[in-house]
Each structure stands twice: as C-alpha cells, then as structure tokens.
C-alpha cells in the first residue's frame, strides 16, 4: 500500500463516560451521538458535505431510532446527501464502525468516514413479557365490546413481570450465560484468585485517577451538557470527566463486596467488573493523503485489524485470538507493541487473557502456533486505567479504545499500539495502530 492511501484515524473525540442512571439519565442515544458528531466536526473544521458516509456502532439503539447511524447524521446537521448506517457487534460495535470504514476505503468505496460508537445504557427499556404482549395483541384486534372484555379477562398478574433488556442484552442466548458467568468460567479455568482480581480493579481506578488529574483525558474528551434526570431543560452542570473513577477505592472496600454472578463460590463482584455506562466516542477515518488535504495531522494509522471467534462460554479470551491474527497481519510481535488498550470487561477476564497471551500451551492448543504470543506487560497496558474505572458503554467502547490508544502513541512516544476487546457471543476484535510521522 502506498503511503498516501494508508488508512488513518485523522481525528477523534469522545464525551465523558457517565454511570448509567446518573448525569446522562435523560439522554437519548441520538442526541448524545449528534452532540459528539457536531463537536468533532466543528473542531476539525471538516465540511460535513465531504463525508462519504456516517457509520455508528450501537448495541441497543432506542426503539424509535433503529438506524441510529442515519438519525445521528441528520441530527448533527450533516447534509442529507451523506448516507449513514448502524453496525452492531456487541461490545465491539464502535470498533466495527472503524474497521467497516477501513474495509470500504480499501475497496475504493469513499475515502472519508465519520465512525462512532454510542450507547445510552440509562435508556435501556423494560419490555412487556410475551404473555402480556399476546394479550395486548388480542385486545387490539378485538372489535366488539364483548371480545374486548374477553381479551381483558385474559389478564394475569404474571404479565406485569417485565423483561429487563439490560440483563437479557448482556446474556448470551446460545449458552444461556450472563457475561459475568463467562468471567467466572475463566476464573476456574485459569485459577484466578479474588485478591488478584481486586488488585487489578484498584490499579485501574488509580491509573484513571492519575490520568484524569494530569489532564491526560482532556486531549480526547469534550465537556458535555447532558439531558439529566430532571429533563433536558434542567442542566445542572457540565460533565467534564468520566464519573466512574472512584478516588476512594481500596482493597478493603473492594473486599467487602459480595460476588454478584456466582453468589456462593464466585469472585466476580461489581467492584472488579466494568460499570454500566453512557458514552459516545467518534473517529474520523480516512486516508493519510486526504487527512493532509483536510489540514489534519492524523492521530494514528491503521496497520492491521482482525476479528476472531472462540467459545461463547469463554468469550473473555477473545482478545487473545484476535490479537494473534492482527499481529500476524501486521507482521509484528507483541513485544514490538508499545501501547496496549484492552477492554476491562472483568478484571478476571483480563487476567485470564494475560495468562493465555503468555502461555505456550494455550498457543499450541488454540492458536496453532508453537510459541506464546508474549507478555502483556502491565506497564504498557491500559496506562490510563480501563473500563473498570472509566465504564463500558458497550457500543462506544470499541471506538474509545482506539481513540485512547491512538493518543497514547504520542504520549508514550511509541511506534505501535494494539486495541483489543472481548465480545459477547465468543468473539474478539483487535486493531494494530501505527504512529504517523508529522
């Protein structure tokens, strides 16, 4: 590939990530995404008419904004002539938006894409259950008073039990496990201790706090004036920072929490898992030449990317499978990579990945290679904390990891970066980034 057609992340921005039901409780994903898109386009000065397309990753779009990619484009004031669509690959949806754009650019289909991930988990609704839905359907089709009364007589108290989309959404339908239980599966496979997991979680908070305090996130976030609990018209204060970071987190506090998923013998608690979060992240994906035309110094180039499948019950190992492919495609070793951003769905899950990365046996058995991928050094991994502190707005995280990793290349003066995450359903995604000369 010639230098000019290298695919780059020309610019990026995200909104501070907030705990669900908190500062962004009244948000709808369309507004959150449009706010970010407007800010990103304004700051880059890119004329939105120049965009080839808008691609948005979102796991749970609001029911009234099914193709949220298009909705966000229109609400952001992007000309109607620019099309938009939505991609979904669970937790990797934001990363999927970027690799989809990259694939399209390679195929010669357009050259400037606005790629985003957005999720408002606060707004995940409750659904009527099947029995209740069926009753309402009968009621709606009843014509006479008599048949209406008949339909209503079918009411049972059990119909009031709602389906909680947040819980059902985080449960793998093919193996019947909620994500936390897949993490417990890895805990048993890799013999992970509770203290280990808690220490990892504490480290995440401490790193995130330090990063926030030294202003590290200011290069990637914009203040946000959210629709809060009391409605859009009551803006309390600007949200300037990720609010999941606990300044007062400690081993003692973490130790007090009871296992949440496997209540009797488990180790995964809400303290060593990622939080339920609202957030949005966006990246401008284009070629290096085009970025220069637009007057932008690219954050990073996309050297390679890969998607991989694995056992849905052990979906947490996805990063190992995907990274192996992506590193191969990039023609480099894990040791060459200076910056790693791996999503912290669960502390135990990242620890399991670390062990699998370093295990020759795992490599031979599952990756078809003789030697381990290498050591996932804590110094180079998630230097600014991860989802345990910053939160995990599922659709947005993939884009957030790329944005943070891209900035971290220059912060840490590294040449190569790796952003990777596990995906519910037994998949992994990984992107190898490369620094772009100024």
């Amino acid at each position: 590939m010639t230098e000019n057609s290298t695919i780059v992340l020309a610019a990026g921005l995200r909104l501070p990530q907030t705990r669900a039901g908190g500062a962004c409780a009244g948000e709808d994903a369309g507004h959150l995404g449009a706010t970010l898109a407007r800010e990103l386009l304004a700051r880059t000065g890119v004329d939105p008419a120049e965009l080839s397309e808008v691609i948005v990753g979102c796991v749970g779009p609001p029911h009234d904004q099914a193709n949220i990619g298009r909705v966000i484009a229109l609400r952001a004031g992007i000309p109607r002539s620019v099309p938009g669509f939505t991609v979904a690959r669970n937790c990797a949806s934001g990363m999927q938006a970027v690799t989809t754009a990259a694939t399209k650019i390679r195929a010669g289909e357009g050259d400037t894409y606005l790629c985003m991930g957005v999720e408002v988990m606060s707004a995940y609704p409750l659904h009527f259950n099947r029995k209740a839905t069926a009753m309402f359907a009968r009621l709606a089709s009843a014509r006479s008073l008599f048949s209406r009364l008949g339909a209503m007589a079918g009411f049972r108290p059990s119909m009031l039990a709602p389906r909680i989309t947040l819980i059902e959404g985080l449960t793998d339908p093919t193996v019947g496990m909620i994500m936390g239980l897949t993490a417990e599966r890895l805990v048993r496979d890799f013999a992970i201790e509770r203290d280990e997991a808690d220490a990892f979680a504490l480290e995440s908070h401490e790193r995130a706090r330090a990063a926030r305090d030294r202003g590290r996130f200011e290069r990637e976030t914009a203040p946000h004036f959210p629709f809060g609990k009391r409605g859009p018209g009551k803006v309390g204060a600007a949200v300037q920072h990720d609010d999941g970071i606990r300044d007062d987190q400690s081993m003692e506090r973490l130790g007090r929490l009871r296992p949440y998923f496997d209540k009797t013998d488990g180790i995964v608690t809400v303290g060593n898992s990622c939080g339920i979060t609202d957030g949005a992240a966006g990246l401008l994906v284009t070629t290096e030449a085009r970025a220069r035309d637009l007057g932008l110094q690219p954050l990073a180039a996309l050297r390679s990317w890969a998607w991989a499948g694995c056992d849905p019950a052990r979906m947490g190992l996805g990063p190992v499978f995907a990274s192996a492919r992506a590193l191969d495609a990039a023609g480099c070793q894990l040791a060459d990579v200076g910056v790693v951003e791996v999503n912290e769905a669960f502390a135990a899950q990242v620890i399991a990945c670390r062990r699998a990365f370093a295990s020759d046996e795992f490599a031979q058995k599952h990756l078809g290679r003789s030697q381990a991928l290498g050591h996932l050094s804590p110094e180079r991994t998630n230097r600014n904390g991860g989802a345990i502190a910053l939160g995990h707005p599922v659709g947005a995280t993939g884009a957030r990891l790329l944005l943070t990793a891209a900035h971290e290349l220059s912060v840490s003066d590294s040449e190569l970066g790796l952003a990777t995450l596990c995906i519910g359903g037994g998949q992994g995604g990984a992107v190898v980034l490369e620094r772009v000369a100024a």
Partner: protein
C-alpha cells in the same frame, strides 16, 4: 339564484380606480368546469400575492354578475393562483389613504356588499349554489372574511398556512362581515378570542377552532373544494348544537362573557385602543340580531376607526416594518445567502438568548464560553424555552428536538471555521472584543461576518486592525431578546453594504425587525433611552414619586414605567450606558448619581429582587412589592418637582427624548423619521398608537414643541440642576426658527 333583473350598480368607493390599475376583468380568472362548476381564481396581473384592492374587488363584482346570470352554474369555488397563495387581505394602502369617515364607510360597504352577494348566492344564504373557499398560505383579515361568506372553507394543511383576523393590530376591527359571520360560525367565546387577539392560526388550530371546515393537502385543495361544491364529497360543518342556546343566545351567559372580556381588554389597552372594545360589543350581539342589521352596525362602527388617529399610527408602523424587510436585500435587489451556521462568543444572558433564538430559527449555532457553568445555564435555558414552545404546540416534537440539537456548546477555542457569522457578546471592553475578533478572523473565511452585540462601543473602533474590516458590523439585539422585536444593525465606517444586508436578513429570519443605524454612541435606542431614564431619576431627585412617574408614563402609553424599566435592564447596565453617553455627548447627558448607592450595595434591579423597587419571586417571576428603602434622595436639595402634574412628568421624560431624536435625525443616525418611529416602537415599546416618537412629536406641532422645550428648560426643576437645561435646548430641526 338572484331573481333581481336590474341590479343597482355599485359605486366604487371614493373616486376612480388608480391609473395603473389593470383592465377590468383581468384580476379574476373565471374557469368553467364541466357539471356546472365555476372556479374564481384570484390572479391579479399586477401583484405576486393577490390583495383585495379596488381592482380585484371590482373584478370580483363583475365575476359575480356573470355567475348570477348563468343558470347552469351549480357550484362555485373561490381560490388563489396557487394552493398556498390565496390573498393577503385588504389593501393596507387603501386604508391608509382614507381621510374621512364617509370615505371609510364607502370602502367598508363596498366590500360588505360584494361579499354579501356571494353569501346570497350560497346555500346558507338562501341561494342555489354550493360555494366553497379553497384557501392556503396566508389568509388574513379581508381574505378570510371573503372565505367566511362561502358555504364551506377548505384549507391547505401546510406549515405556511395562517388563518385569522388580525385587524385589531392595525387599530381597526374586521369590517367586511368578520365580526358578524365568525361568531355565527364558531360561537361567541372563540370568535372573541380570535378577533380580540388578532392571532393568525396554523392550519390544524384553525380546523380545531372551526375557522375552517376541512383540511387537505395543498395538491388536492382545488379538487377537494370542487368535489364539495358539486356535492360529490360531503363536508359536514361542526354544529354548535346546545352551546348555541346556552351561550350565544343566552343573555346571561353573553353578559358574563362580555364583562370578563371587557376587563381583560381594558387592562391591556389602558383605554388607548378603541377597536377591541367596539369589536367585543359587536361580536357579543351578533348571534342575536339579523345579519343585515349586524353588518350595518359593523360598518358604522369601523368607519370612524379607519379614519381615526390610532389606525393611522398602526397602519403607518405596519408599512414601515414592511419597508424594513427590504433591508434584507442586496444592493442588486437579490436575497443574500442565508446564514446557515453561526457562532456566539460569550455565554452570558445576552449571548445565551441570541444563541437560543438562532438555534430555534433553524441556524446551526455554536456558543462558546470559557466558563462551563455559564454554558450549562445557557443550554438549560434554551432547552427549557424550546420545551415551552413544544408544550404550547407552537412547534412539533421533532422540530423541538432539532432545535435543541442545533445548539452546540463548547469551551474549546476553535471550531468556528464553518460559521457564516459570529456574534460576540463578551465583556464591553474594546481590547477584549478586538482580541476575540482578531482570533476569529484567523479561523473564519474572509467573507464570514463578525458581528458585535456591543451597546456602548464604537463598531468602527472594534473593526480597526481586523483583516477585512468590511465584514465587521454591529448587531445590537435589544434586550430582553425574546420580547423586543428590534435589531439595530450598526454600520461602521468600513462595513460593506453586503454585510449590512446579510445581517439584516438574519435579523428578519429570526423574526426581528432590522433598522440600520450610524455608529454613534448609544446608537439610536440607547441614546434616546438615556435622557428618558435619566430625566425620570431627576424628577425623583426633585421630589416626584417613582410610582407617580411610572404611572404617568404607563398612561401615556409606554409598556413599562421608567423606574421599572431601570430595574428590568439592571441598575449596573443602565449606569454603564449612561456613563458612556455622558462621555460621548457631554453635559446634556450628564447622569444622575442617585442610584450609585444601590449599585454599590449590589441591589441591581429585578435580577437581584432589589432595585428602585423591591420584588418577590412569584411563580418564577419577580413581583413588585414596594419601594426600596435604601433609595434616598440627596439631602437638602430643592423639591420643585414634588407637585408636578402627570402631564408635566410625561413631558419631562418624553420631550427630553424628542429633543435628542431631533439631533439624531439632523446627524442622520437613521435614514429618516419613519425609521426612528419604527425603532422607538419596536426597540423601546414607545406607545404604538402614537405611531412612534417622531410622529408623536410632529403631532404636537413644531412651534408648540419648541415653546414647551424652552419652557421646560427654564422651569425651576431643570434650570439650576447639575448639567443644567441643555437637554431641553431645542436642537436639530427644532432649533431652526
């Protein structure tokens, strides 16, 4: 159908047709369709949008002759050239030209009789035809009265549609049958609401109220109306049923409704506007009397109003505001490119309100402030405002959502690169404003407009050193932004005509009226308000009661007394404005120092609930509770003004303003007396029924005015005070013998 053989020929009102009027018969196209349907299309060759002027009314009369004599006609549709272009109502110029009550009466009767001929042809009037008005777009006043004479009104369901009877806004009331046919159609209470408010209703609201009978897509308008006229399509009219007997024909209920409405009208007009009261009486009586008698009363009542001074003033202002729309055109006569994206620097009350209005009116708007707290307030106020509009159903839900989306708030320095115009509303300091513009000039395109919302600094000075100074312009949106309809467009020495036109067009797009003013201290509105407010303070120092001064000026027709106005704008702001006026104009603007103590104590008016008066927060609004005890007169000063009559109080305040206005006209601050009138009414709420400050001054007579000014200058309260009588020394045109 009429059985008359020799119809008495209608005389055209007062004299002949204008010489440039088109040929008889050319203003209305008569289309014969099959099956006995006739369509009358209002299509005057001399106008883009039909106006019910003499020529068109004459041709309508001719067309009716033809229809009356054609036994094959079964149905009649009256419509416009386009579905959304019916007619703009009666000819305001003709109303303006009326000089005597007799002329007015002729004009009214001519219209009444023509419309009555339609009613007599119609089924409801005893004729044999089904008559249908097919309307859409603006359908105000006379145009709607024409429709009211038909059996059915079909209306285009389109955002551009506005139906109503706005005559009271011109100081008159509907005189072509409106006060009679509307209450018969929709009942007394609703008819009162429509006629007294003069509101123009959107299509859905008009249908809901019963102003129209059926809505349809603009594309189907004529087809649906034709089908109704031929009885091929049913179009039931909602009957009032029992309500008619309970209210419209029940003397007790009528009396109650009348008394309630009267109270409201008297409170709102303070006796300055005769039309609403007269209309009220007619509407309430209408259902109980025969139509011809009602029409006669309507005509006799409205004629003196048409010839009267209030209508003259209001019609004059209407004409001036129509003229102001031409400011939004380029010197070539073309419309300049729309401002699609705008920036606002400064998230204070003013900046926030301007940004909110821009975003509401379909401009993508980016507001910046370094203080995220200020931005949060601005954003919150915007969203609350939009939600209020949504709740009131002024805008649909998706429009509200888009209006909220359009406001971007940022603390970042950059991001204005794609803006067509940026307004600054930062601190009133020259170097701050220059720095802001200097920085913006680097990011923005060379032809992007840099507008300053300054109220006290010179636009020319701000533009100094800015690359392409021709794009720097003053855009003084009068505070409070949502209430005052005026924008002063200040032309600096370098400002180009194109920039002035583009900025004026933006003001018009925002629903405001622009006036172009010269770059002098205080521009026009603040320069006139300065002596007015200061004179009120002087009166107080001289012994007059603030309450008495406020009441006198309210009675004069100001929307708010000067002291309350000071509290409204804020004592600090008023003091700052007065200071810069004194600096620029010297002794005649020397400012009273009696509010300094309050400003120092931080009692700055309504925003702090303490100013000249004390306020209490009630339902989120400050309510006056009494006078601030901290307000103290200078000790031992003379008390010449303690026993002045209300008229003297008014003269001191208003004539101080008139004299300054004379100077402004002499200096060419605005293009002429008309613009001055418009600016005073729209920018400070100067009594609209007086037609504006200069019209009021002219009505006094120049010699009288000069005499009165000299008298005031010599009066004991003025002669020896600090600053002396210079404020009242006849100036400008008044100065010449």
């Amino acid at each position: 159908m009429s059985t008359e053989t020799a119809k008495p020929k209608l005389e055209l009102p007062f004299g002949a047709m204008p010489e440039d009027a088109p040929e008889p018969g050319s203003c209305i196209r008569i289309e014969h369709a099959d099956d006995g349907l006739v369509r009358l299309v209002l299509a005057p060759p001399h106008r883009k949008l039909a106006v019910l002027d003499l020529a068109l009314m004459r041709d309508l009369d001719l067309a009716l002759d033809e229809i009356e004599n054609d036994p094959t006609v079964r149905g009649l549709v009256i419509t416009g050239r386009e579905p959304l272009s019916f007619a703009a109502g009666a000819d305001v110029k003709a109303i303006e030209a009326v000089e005597t009550v007799e002329q007015a009466l002729e004009l009214v009767r001519f219209g009444q009789r023509t419309f009555d001929r339609i009613a007599l042809l119609s089924r409801h009037g005893g004729g044999g035809l089904v008559t249908v008005a097919a309307v859409g777009g603006p359908v105000p006043g006379g145009a709607y009265e024409l429709a009211l004479a038909c059996d059915r009104i079909v209306c285009a369901d389109d955002p551009k549609t506005r139906v109503g009877l706005p005559e009271v806004k011109l100081g008159i009331y509907p005189g072509w049958g409106g006060t009679q046919r509307l209450p018969r159609r929709i009942g007394i209470p609703r008819a009162l609401g429509a006629i007294l408010s003069g509101r123009l209703y959107r299509a859905r609201a008009a249908k809901k109220l019963g102003l129209v009978d059926r809505l349809t897509h603009p594309e189907y308008l004529v087809r649906v109306a034709s089908d109704i006229a031929l009885d091929r399509l049913e179009c039931p009219r909602r009957e009032r049923g029992l309500w008619r007997y309970l209210i419209d024909l029940n003397p007790l209920a009528r009396d109650f409704v009348k008394r309630q409405a009267e109270k409201t009208v008297r409170r709102q007009t303070r006796g300055h506007y005769p039309a609403p009261l007269k209309a009220l009486e007619l509407v309430v009586r209408a259902p109980g009397i025969p139509l011809p008698a009602g029409l006669e009363e309507e005509a006799r009542g409205v004629a003196p109003l048409i010839a009267g001074p209030v209508a003259k003033s209001l019609v004059g202002l209407f004409g001036l505001s129509e003229d102001a729309k031409k400011l939004g055109l380029l010197p070539s006569g073309e419309k300049p490119a729309r401002i699609g994206r705008a920036g606002v620097i400064g998230g204070g009350v003013m900046g926030g309100a301007i940004a909110s209005l821009l975003a509401e009116k379909h401009v993508d708007t980016r507001i910046r402030d370094l203080d995220a707290g200020a931005l949060a307030q601005a954003v919150g106020a915007h969203r609350a405002q939009i939600q209020k509009l949504e709740k009131r159903r002024s805008i649909d839900k998706h429009e509200a959502m888009a209006a909220i989306d359009r406001l971007e708030a940022t603390t970042a320095g950059a991001g204005f690169g794609r803006c067509d115009l940026v307004v600054e509303a930062v601190a009133e300091r020259l170097e701050v404003k220059q720095a802001v513009f200097g920085e913006l000039a680097r990011e923005l395109a060379d032809d992007a407009i840099l507008a300053t919302n300054t109220s006290s600094l010179s636009v020319t000075q701000i533009a100094e050193g800015i690359p392409h100074p021709e794009r720097v312009v003053g855009m003084h949106v009068i505070n409070p932004v949502r209430r005052m309809p005026l924008v002063e467009i200040v032309r600096g020495e370098a400002t180009s005509d194109e920039v002035v036109a583009r900025t004026a067009r933006l003001a018009l797009d925002l629903g405001k009226t622009p006036v172009v003013v010269k770059d002098v201290a205080g521009f026009l509105v603040n320069r006139l308000l300065g002596p007015y407010l200061d004179e009120a303070l002087r009166l107080w120092e001289g012994g007059a009661d603030p309450e008495a001064v406020d009441r006198a000026l309210l009675d004069f027709g100001m929307p708010m007394g000067p002291f309350e106005l000071i509290d409204e704008v804020g004592l600090d702001i008023a003091a700052h404005a007065a200071e810069s006026l004194e600096e620029a104009y010297g002794v005649r603007m020397q400012k009273s120092t009696s509010l300094a103590a309050l400003v120092e104590a931080g009692e700055l008016g309504k925003k702090t609930l303490r100013g000249v008066f004390l306020y209490e927060e009630k339902k989120g609004r400050p309510r006056k509770t009494g006078r601030n005890p901290r307000l103290a007169r200078p000790v031992g000063g003379p008390r010449h003004d303690s026993s002045l009559f209300p008229k003297d109080l008014v003269d001191r305040c208003v004539l101080a303003m008139v004299n300054e206005a004379a100077r402004c006209l002499a200096e060419g601050v605005v293009a002429g007396p008309g613009v001055l009138d418009l600016a005073t009414v729209f920018g400070m709420g100067f009594a609209p029924f007086r037609g504006g400050l200069w019209r009021f001054a002219t009505s006094l007579g120049r010699d009288e005015l000069r005499g009165r000014l000299e008298e005031l200058a010599q009066s004991p309260g003025v002669k020896d005070r600090p600053g002396g009588p210079e404020r009242f020394t006849p100036a400008g045109e008044l100065e010449l013998g």
